[in-house]
């Protein structure tokens, strides 16, 4: 359960270049639900995702995830919260191009300091699930778009998080890859993951399994 209550975010408060990114945003996402945050680019969707992921702190307001207030967590706990609860799929995947598939996938596990076998098992499971295991030693930059997409999702899910956050996941993708991504989302939805996608790609609009569509324009919920 994600509860966002009256979140405001002001960048450069009190300065000449002050910008209000979010204004009084409140919504909630129930466990296992899929919610779409839509709106044109620059409307504050990504900022909102960053706040839900505890990457950014709101200027005011509260974010609760499973009853835990995450808005004011110090870095140590915010990171731990992300590592344990959040799977992040970035715009353009954001793989580290010079690392191998395996190294990209274990990226979230490295600071956990788990035993080697455990890390390797988790990575293997996730890579197999998204059928990328056969390429595990290839460099990310040598992969095709579809393969990169699968690595990105394998990385997001390697920790088996409850919540998936995706930021413009289909921007710059061709139709085929976009449909692929939708299939993955469908699958994750059927696994009862809580999913929040920020996008302006119409492919996500009016889908039968989407629980809610929230529109954000210029930092204000419509």
């Amino acid at each position: 359960m994600i509860n966002v209550t009256k979140v405001n975010k002001v960048f450069n408060a009190g300065k000449i270049n002050q910008t209000i990114a979010l204004q009084d945003i409140s919504f909630n996402v129930k466990d296992g639900n899929l919610t779409i945050l839509k709106g044109p680019s620059g409307s504050g969707k990504s900022t909102l995702l960053a706040i839900v992921a505890a990457l950014l702190k709101p200027t005011s307001g509260d974010v609760e995830v499973d009853g835990k207030k995450i808005a004011k967590l110090p870095d140590n706990f915010a990171s731990l919260y992300r590592r344990e609860n959040i799977g992040f799929v970035f715009q353009k995947f954001n793989l580290v191009p010079t690392l191998s598939v395996f190294e990209n996938v274990i990226l979230p596990l490295i600071p956990s300091n788990l035993p080697r076998v455990e890390i390797e098992n988790k990575a293997k499971k996730s890579m197999e699930k998204f059928s990328i295991y056969h390429k595990k030693n290839d460099l990310a930059k040598s992969l095709s778009g579809g393969e990169q997409q699968r690595v990105a999702i394998a990385r997001a899910l390697v920790n088996d998080p409850k919540i998936i956050l995706a930021d413009e996941p289909t921007a710059n993708l061709d139709t085929k890859l976009s449909t692929n991504f939708l299939d993955f989302i469908k699958e994750l939805h059927s696994e009862k993951k809580t999913i929040l996608i920020a996008t302006h790609d119409p492919i996500f609009f009016n889908l039968p399994f989407v629980s809610e569509e929230i529109e954000v324009i210029k930092g204000i919920m419509k």
Partner: protein
């Protein structure tokens, strides 16, 4: 279960270094060169120090000088028998020596009196004396000169003899009975050996006077005691022990490497500005990578630790490579070029192999002079990188 040491993080740091190879190899090479230079200087100075200490061993254990108004005066040789009676003293030798200024050539010669009966204080001189018939020195008017001295004399038309000017204005004609080639060019160009009697005459000393007295004390632990005893017996005199000389020589060399170290540190600081600059100028790729790391759950501390591992790897690898190369360069190749830093070196002994003296304390010293400085230079850039706004990458 948590592991004691995060090997994956370490591997990640290693791969991060490899992935930005060009930049890191550049830093590694510069750091390597700096440590290499420093190590060479320390190794060479250690070797020379070692060699010097060996030379010092052949010197007398105690030299007694008489002082008057803080200046060294000639002393009376009466005291010899009294000194020889001190338990622990095995040999007492009066020395007659000094400098003679040869005006025409504008040079100073060392005039050293030798005696047929008593052994000489310096092994190299004893060797020369042994080579010649000892009777030469007893004949009243002969001397043996270094071949460099001989050349200087010939240039001034003194081919067979030389006229020393005595302090009272009279001339003392001394014939050249032979030449020798000194162990060092300094010796050859400088030394004139003649009998004690003649030396006294040239310096205007009385027959019962000597420049100083040397003592041999077989048990090194007794040296200090005997020296203080002598100081009590002869309050007008100063005792210089071999150990005193050793300390001042060591001081000179520590001083020399200290000055080098000081200059080196200035260079090192310049280097750190480069490091600081390199480390803080993050490329957009690096920024994105750190953003991804933090977005997937890396703590600020994890990123700082990764950067710390990177800095440690670079500095420790450079350190060990540099030490190994320096050992090779100094002890196998005999340190061409760099050993000229020690200008006294060529005079000291022109042709000799640097003895192999690598000790842990030198290596530890070099470690502390370099690696912590490098790490210090990376602290702030690492922190800046680790606290980058992660949300920027996901926008």
């Amino acid at each position: 279960m948590k592991q004691l040491f995060n090997l994956f993080l370490f591997e990640y740091a290693l791969s991060s270094l490899k992935r930005r190879g060009a930049k890191n190899i550049f830093i590694l090479i510069i750091f390597f060169i700096l440590i290499f230079l420093l190590s060479c200087v320390f190794f060479i100075s250690n070797s020379i120090k070692y060699e010097l200490n060996l030379t010092l061993k052949s010197l007398p254990d105690i030299v007694m000088q008489k002082l008057q108004a803080g200046r060294v005066q000639n002393l009376n040789i009466d005291r010899i028998s009294k000194i020889a009676n001190i338990p622990g003293v095995s040999e007492v030798t009066p020395r007659v020596w000094g400098y003679y200024y040869f005006k025409n050539a504008g040079v100073n010669f060392s005039v050293v009196g030798v005696s047929r009966f008593s052994p000489n204080y310096k092994k190299s001189i004893q060797k020369i004396v042994n080579k010649f018939d000892k009777k030469i020195f007893d004949k009243s008017d002969t001397m043996i000169v270094g071949d460099g001295v001989k050349k200087t004399l010939e240039k001034n038309y003194y081919n067979k003899y030389f006229d020393f000017i005595e302090p009272n204005g009279g001339f003392k004609k001394v014939y050249i009975a032979g030449t020798f080639k000194g162990a060092t060019s300094l010796e050859s160009n400088d030394i004139i050996l003649l009998s004690n009697k003649n030396a006294r005459k040239i310096f205007g000393m009385k027959n019962n006077e000597a420049t100083d007295i040397t003592l041999r004390v077989p048990n090194p632990k007794e040296v200090a005691k005997i020296a203080s005893k002598l100081e009590l017996m002869y309050p007008d005199s100063r005792m210089i022990t071999k150990n005193d000389l050793k300390i001042s020589y060591n001081n000179i060399f520590d001083y020399k490497s200290g000055i080098f170290l000081a200059m080196f540190i200035i260079v090192l600081f310049t280097f750190f500005i480069i490091i600081y600059d390199k480390a803080s100028g993050l490329s957009s790729d690096e920024k994105r990578e750190i953003g991804v790391q933090k977005a997937v759950g890396w703590k600020i501390g994890d990123v700082i630790l990764q950067k710390f591992y990177e800095a440690s790897i670079i500095s420790v690898v450079s350190f060990f490579l540099a030490i190994m190369f320096a050992i090779f360069y100094v002890y196998i190749l005999d340190a061409p070029l760099i050993r000229d830093i020690f200008t006294g070196y060529s005079i000291l002994k022109p042709a000799f192999k640097l003895p192999f003296i690598v000790d842990f304390q030198t290596i530890i010293l070099i470690f502390f002079a370099t690696v912590p400085l490098y790490l210090a230079a990376t602290i702030i850039p690492s922190w800046v990188a680790a606290t980058l706004e992660a949300d920027e990458v996901i926008r």
